[in-house]
Symmetry: C2
Subunit: 110 residues, 2 copies
Amino acid sequence: MSSFPTSFDGVSVATKANVYFDGKVISHSLILADGRKKSLGVIFPGEFHFGTAAPEVMEITAGSCEVVLDGTTETLAVSAGSSFDVPGDSGFTIRVTGEHCEYICSFGTP
Amino acid sequence: MSSFPTSFDGVSVATKANVYFDGKVISHSLILADGRKKSLGVIFPGEFHFGTAAPEVMEITAGSCEVVLDGTTETLAVSAGSSFDVPGDSGFTIRVTGEHCEYICSFGTP
């Protein structure tokens, strides 16, 4: 169980939201003072595939999800307070059932 | 037609989203460096009533909506690039049809 920050301070936040899959996945993009990029998002019930360019760390901050990384067959059960890593130039399938799931996505260097 | 910023810089953003009406309305809360509070949100099709504590300025940044302020009967048609003001201790009904609508909500002093 990892903890996550309740806020990010001194950041630049894009006013326009990122809306994917007819609004089933929504995020807002942040750039931290040191240049690192993150997004804060909400995923509603469904199953969605995302590709990655940069590697990503996905911290789940509310709800839970099941994840299958591209090129693997194992299903990872991830709940609030936990995270999973996704390599760059890859992707993952995320499944949310029941309640919506919230995340902090942190982008690494491609 | 007013313009709106593409980003807010030097802000504090809450990691947890505000999710209303079963996810039909989602926002993230910001606090600007000078202490002013804003939220960035997305509204999916439907009709929703919000109460206000502080007065609010709602700038529509994508899509469009129809608004009826509490205590009035006039329907305001508001599209991207326009805004509407809501008094404090009041409220408004907002209706979105078709595409989702995005907004910047700026909270004033109660």
